[in-house]
């Protein structure tokens, strides 16, 4: 899977990609996805590799994503991946499990991204260190697979070993026609013990923003409203699925991105981009003045396609705001939902999206 800096930004990246392609050919690897495909955490889901009950290890920290479909998935290092390829073995410690029970209904303008930012802000960057994190409760049962992917994707940002949602009818419906293989649903035992249980009611949740330079530096949007933004990134493996792009397009439709605010659309996969193009979502975004990037990791890790200059600030729907992450250590990165990002694109500052567009528009964006 070639997704970091794809297609290559320079000779060094190109050489790296060339070596990988040669390795794939030499080893006869069939499931290889080249630069035209998208980010692995979306593509593995679309391609039906992420299945309930599977143990999935990937050499990227956001491998935690696949728990959204009931897999146990976690990141490992590349040396470990090489050893698995050579020996078929790895050691893993069975983690303690903590449960996050979320109830209530999201109000228009507040999303699963706001919930996970709130949780990370509450418990900190090591609040789930080495633990399995199980998300449950009525708010999760009502949540789409896309929203669940956002939660599990960001579980690593609180130190979690994996994120997990019980597979249910949403899961089975999603996998129908997508699953590559048979699978067995594995659920927590009804009498299992959790090391910690946290409760949230999403009904009263405000849009959340993570401030520089750590993901757990979280506040209500009102606290940072007015912060000037030079670049907006809507997308990534965290929030670059079709519903995310539709929500952004619904907010931006008929409006213009504020002069000088580079608004980058970063679809999670080429399938998402194709769908968004065919249905007209991309055209709406372009007419508003957004820049459409190809599906890859792009500016999320600062390699290319939208680095920041010293003194600039970005609002991004991706998953990390570490110092220097977008290519410049003298810049500030804020994180928020795609809707918060779209609102910032219009106004040039961090703002509560509910002050920019009506609840009807926000609802329409959610229901498209």
């Amino acid at each position: 899977m070639l997704d970091h800096c794809a297609p290559a930004a320079n000779e060094k990246f190109a050489t790296n990609h060339k070596e990988i392609r040669a390795f794939v050919e030499e080893q006869g690897i069939e499931s290889f996805y080249d630069v035209a495909t998208g980010v692995c955490h979306q593509v593995l889901v679309e391609q039906g590799f992420a299945l309930p009950g599977r143990l999935i290890l990937g050499s990227d920290s956001h491998t935690t994503s696949y728990g959204a479909l009931g897999a146990f998935s976690s990141g490992i290092g590349r040396s470990e991946m090489a050893v698995i390829m050579a020996t078929g073995k790895i050691w893993l410690r069975v983690p303690e499990t903590m449960k996050i029970d979320a109830r209530g209904r999201f109000v228009p303008g507040v999303y699963p991204k706001d919930l996970i930012l709130k949780i990370i802000g509450d418990i900190g960057a090591d609040g789930a260190l080495y633990r399995a994190v199980e998300f449950g409760g009525t708010a999760i049962e009502d949540m789409s697979i896309s929203g669940r992917l956002t939660l599990c994707n960001m579980t690593i940002e609180m130190g979690g070993k994996n994120g997990y949602v019980h597979p249910d009818q949403h899961t089975l419906d999603y996998l129908n026609g997508v699953a590559r293989d048979n699978f067995e649903v594995v659920k927590s035992d009804p009498d299992c013990e959790y090391i910690q249980e946290l409760r949230y009611d999403v009904t009263d949740l405000e849009p959340q923003i993570a401030k520089p330079h750590t993901v757990d530096n979280v506040c209500d949007v009102s606290e940072v409203a007015g912060t000037k933004i030079d670049q907006v990134v809507i997308g990534s493996c965290t929030n670059g699925r079709i519903d995310d792009l539709r929500q952004a397009a619904a907010i931006l439709e008929g409006k213009k991105v504020k002069n000088g605010v580079r608004t980058l659309i970063l679809p999670a996969s080429s399938e998402v981009l194709k769908q968004a193009t065919a249905e007209g979502t991309i055209l709406k975004l372009m007419e508003s003045g957004c820049i459409i990037l190809n599906a890859n990791c792009g500016p999320c890790m600062g390699n290319h396609e939208g680095a920041l200059a010293p003194g600039e600030a970005a609002l991004s729907s991706a998953n990390r705001n570490f110092k220097g992450r977008m290519g410049c250590k003298e810049s500030d990165i804020y994180l928020g939902s795609p809707a918060s990002c779209a609102a910032a694109a219009i106004t040039g500052q961090i703002v509560d999206v509910r002050e920019v567009v009506s609840a009807e528009i926000l609802n329409a964006g959610q229901e498209v």
Binding site: I76, S79, E80, D126, M301, N303, R320, K323, R325, K329
Partner: protein, 165 residues
């Protein structure tokens, strides 16, 4: 394993992989000597020019959080760091450090006792950290882990086990 003695470099909580080795260099810097020059670049520009062989990094909670990129651990090895002493480690960094042959010590007492520039000795095999403020014990690492250190990391360790070298 011989005890490691060096000077302490002290940092706070949540030192992440992007400040240890910026993500933008992931695929552009591959030469160990070149990588060593940017170690800790975004948190402490004084580190890379001044770090000496076997110096010890001392930090707070969740050291190495963030990416799975093992350059976060290998860049410290390339920079000459002898060990990292912290209150806790991110799970990915913990694995990557062992696999890169970089000893880790989890000890609140040692972190409390150490300041930048202190001389510190880490005795991995016997589970001891010797600081100017006292000697602190930590549970010795399992023999399997020490075996990985002694072979210079997971890849040489596995090649040896498979009889490839």
């Amino acid at each position: 394993m011989e005890p490691i003695t060096g000077k302490a470099w002290k940092y706070g909580d949540d030192v992440n992989t992007d400040v240890i080795f910026p993500g933008k260099y992931t695929y552009t810097l591959t030469d160990p000597a070149e990588m060593a020059k940017v170690a800790m670049e975004d948190i402490d520009p004084d580190f890379a020019p001044n770090v000496q062989k076997n110096d010890i990094i001392v930090a707070g909670r969740n050291f190495g959080c963030g990416s799975s990129r093992e350059q976060g651990a290998t860049v410290l090895v390339y920079a000459g760091v002898g060990a990292v002493v912290a209150r806790s480690f991110s799970r990915l960094f913990f694995r990557n450090a062992i696999n890169a042959g970089l000893p880790l010590v989890q000890s609140d007492e040692a972190v409390d006792a150490l300041e930048k520039g202190h001389e510190v000795t880490v005795d991995v095999e016997n589970g001891k950290v010797i600081t100017p403020g006292g000697t602190f014990e930590f549970p010795p690492l399992p023999a399997a882990v020490i075996g990985i250190f002694e072979d210079g990391g997971l890849i040489p360790h596995t090649r040896k086990a498979l009889g490839l070298d």
